[in-house]
């Protein structure tokens, strides 16, 4: 098996200001399935093509943003090895007991120099609403809303960017698919992959620690992006930009906001990455085209609007 260690982004726990409005947004508009609401108030959701129990967790709070992002690893041995590797690299590791979220096994956790909290786990219950496996149809229940396929990746903002990217590369086994280099050795954006996706996480330099730029949902194709755009206008969802395309990763995209100001993305496409691929680099002068390929310039919100 070629893919080992960290497999993929598995979950993202977001803070929201108004759970009722958030449920309309994530369940009815984006089209995630509600899995459960637990006694502590957290609500668990999933996209239709995910096998595991949940991928998006919403928690009521008085400020929005991201609590933590979870990555699934291949097996329990990989988790044990990952803890050893993190500790040997000088990273403090915390243990989260199995069941802190329903249906999930033990987790190891660390806070990155950028300020974000990352969890790793090997076990999660399978959903009874996962993709069909026996003589499967393309879907079992008809997809709703923007018809999301899966939670795909996050873009996070913070300082101590290089130190964080180093942990992802040297300890967690990620590779850098693309960077934005501003001058000499200064890199302001890393796009990192642990798979054959163009990115599984992206990190951008920002003066404040622990900021959340967006979590992204994969859609099937450009037509699905159009359907999502129709839904955004019909239901007056706050749109940041799009439909457009990224130069980096080549994904076709819309950025929009949930009712608490957390940015979401729906996207489709992008190239496949293999470990022998050369790193793609963008210089500062071309950063507009790198981020928004059709507009060829950043909007004010891209660098400044985060939660």
């Amino acid at each position: 098996m070629a893919m080992t260690g960290v497999l993929r982004p598995g979950f993202c726990q977001l803070r929201v200001l108004d759970m009722e409005k958030s449920m309309v947004h994530y369940r009815d508009r984006i089209g995630l399935d509600e899995v459960s609401q637990e006694k502590d108030g957290r609500v668990y959701l999933k996209a239709r093509d995910e096998f595991d129990r949940h991928s998006i967790i919403l928690r009521s709070a008085d400020e929005p943003g991201m609590d933590c992002m979870g990555f699934k690893v291949l097996d329990d041995e990989s988790l044990t090895q990952l803890e050893k590797d993190l500790t040997a690299f000088g990273v403090d590791v915390e243990h989260i007991e199995a069941g802190e979220q329903p249906g999930i096994g033990r987790r190891i956790r660390f806070q990155a120099p950028m300020g974000h909290i990352f969890d790793f786990y090997a076990e999660m219950e399978k959903s009874d609403k996962g993709p069909m496996v026996q003589d499967p149809h393309v879907w079992d229940e008809q997809p709703r809303g923007m018809r999301p396929i899966r939670f795909d990746h996050c873009l996070l903002y913070g300082d101590e960017l290089d130190e964080t990217a180093e942990i992802f590369q040297k300890v967690l086994g990620f590779q850098v698919s693309e960077v934005i280099r501003v001058e000499g050795d200064v890199i302001n954006a890393y796009f990192l992959t642990c798979s054959t996706k163009a990115h599984d996480i992206a990190l951008i330099r920002f003066p404040e620690k622990g900021k959340f730029h967006h979590c992204s949902f994969l859609l099937e194709d450009w037509n699905a992006i159009g359907n999502a755009a129709d839904i955004m206008t019909r239901y007056d969802i706050s749109v940041d930009i799009g439909p457009t395309r990224h130069g980096i990763t080549r994904g076709k995209t819309i950025y929009f906001f949930d009712p608490s100001g957390n940015r979401n993305e729906v996207f489709s496409g992008g190239y496949n990455f293999y470990p022998d691929n050369p790193r793609r680099e963008w210089c500062e002068e071309e950063v507009g085209r790198a981020i928004f390929y059709y507009e060829k310039q950043l909007n004010d919100r891209f660098m400044g609007v985060v939660t």
Partner: protein, 81 residues
């Protein structure tokens, strides 16, 4: 004066007025932080990381969550931090 069903920011955006930055429009990001110097208003839910309770009592609000009930006089502030 704008209709109270629409936030100050939504009305400014409709009029293509760029005095206040347009961010998330959901009370989260804080780029539309303003101080109300005069007038009556109601507010929606705002991130406490951007507007503390004490600041809210002093008239500091996010324009996207600011619903006018009279003519307002505003001062534009920056995002906190």
């Amino acid at each position: 004066m704008c209709r109270a069903s629409k936030s100050v920011l939504a009305e400014l955006e409709r009029q293509h007025c760029q005095t206040v930055s347009i961010g998330c429009r959901g009370g989260g990001c804080g780029v539309c932080r303003v101080e109300v110097l005069m007038g009556k208003y109601a507010v929606g839910t705002m991130s406490r990381a951007q507007v503390s309770l004490e600041e809210e009592r002093c008239g500091i609000v996010l324009a996207c969550q600011l619903y006018p009930e009279s003519d307002l006089k505003l001062r534009v502030l920056n995002r906190k931090n």
